[in-house]
């Protein structure tokens, strides 16, 4: 019913509020403001976290945990830096913590059947299939790396971040990022050749 549809007016007003205002409200403990920010940034956080989770259910949980970390850390956010940068820093560090916690558990678990969930994947084009196959191989190789290297390679080679951006997101020095990434790529190339993944 048009006469009772108050959401139209509310949404119109909400879009006019600048992001800094939403952030300020959320920092003061306004849950509605935080939920607005969470909905806005969810695709960004989801996209980064998806490189570290093994299943969609795990990714849903990880995304939620990351937003809870962001909520908890909001009082420490200083508005002199863009909010998105701070949010992605918390996200990347949260993903690193997740990898470290998961590593031991993963090693003791059986390997997940790579065929699992394939039916759900979009198979409409050869290109999509090639991209999925490439991801499965890259994921297999990333699984051989320690969490720190995995985060670095994901940010540099999959998220296409620069060394400087990666250093800022992780809190590690640029030289550390360069050296570790070089060694990690070398290790990945060696494993790639040993496993004959090109065939």
């Amino acid at each position: 019913m048009f006469f009772f549809d108050t959401t139209r007016t509310r949404n119109h007003v909400e879009t006019e509020i600048p992001e800094s205002e939403w952030v300020d409200r959320a920092r003061k403990g306004d849950e509605e403001a935080f939920l607005h920010l969470a909905v806005t940034y969810r695709p960004r956080v989801w996209s980064t976290a998806s490189r570290f989770a093994r299943s969609r259910a795990e990714l849903e949980d990880l995304t939620q945990d990351l937003f809870l970390k962001i909520w908890k850390g909001l009082p420490s956010y200083r508005s002199d830096a863009p909010f998105e940068n701070w949010l992605m820093t918390v996200t990347v560090r949260g993903c690193y913590d997740f990898l470290r916690k998961q590593r031991r558990r993963r090693e003791s678990e059986l390997l997940v059947d790579p065929q699992e969930g394939r039916d759900a994947v979009d198979e409409r084009s050869d290109r999509a299939r090639r991209q999925r196959d490439a991801w499965e191989k890259v994921d297999l190789l990333l699984g051989h790396l320690p969490p720190k290297d995995r985060v670095l390679i994901t940010l540099l080679d999959l998220e296409e971040k620069s060394v400087k951006e990666t250093a800022q997101l992780t809190g590690w020095s640029e030289s550390n990022v360069k050296v570790r990434a070089h060694r990690a790529r070398k290790k990945m190339r060696t494993i790639h050749d040993e496993l004959g993944l090109d065939s």
């Binding site: 990714l59 995304t63 939620q64 490439a134 790639h192 993944l197």
Partner: protein, 96 residues
């Protein structure tokens, strides 16, 4: 990076793939809304954080108090300890 290695081609193709598809809007806001109140620190959490932050300042205060009591009331501490404390208390930055 070694441009010729097939790993670089894999990276190129893999970066366009979304491993678990797009996020669905169903339930996200509701779950997060339900979890947020649990994350709000309680009074006990606040006191715990406060006491932890001030533990570094509490330690020298505790040492100074122990030294003072040991010197004022030598009978309270085991034999020999008060003499030991008296010797070492001269190194403290406060006059006891």
């Amino acid at each position: 990076m070694n441009e010729e290695h097939p790993l670089n081609r894999l990276f190129g193709e893999a970066k366009s793939h979304a491993p678990h598809g797009e996020p669905s809007d169903f339930g996200f806001e509701t779950r997060l809304r339900a979890a947020l109140p649990e994350m709000t620190p309680s009074l006990a959490d606040w006191i715990a954080t406060f006491s932890w932050r001030f533990s570094a300042a509490t330690l020298p205060l505790l040492v100074a108090m122990t030294v003072f009591l040991a010197m004022e009331q030598p009978g309270w501490v085991p034999e020999g300890v008060s003499g030991f404390v008296a010797n070492w208390s001269s190194y403290l930055p406060i006059d006891l």
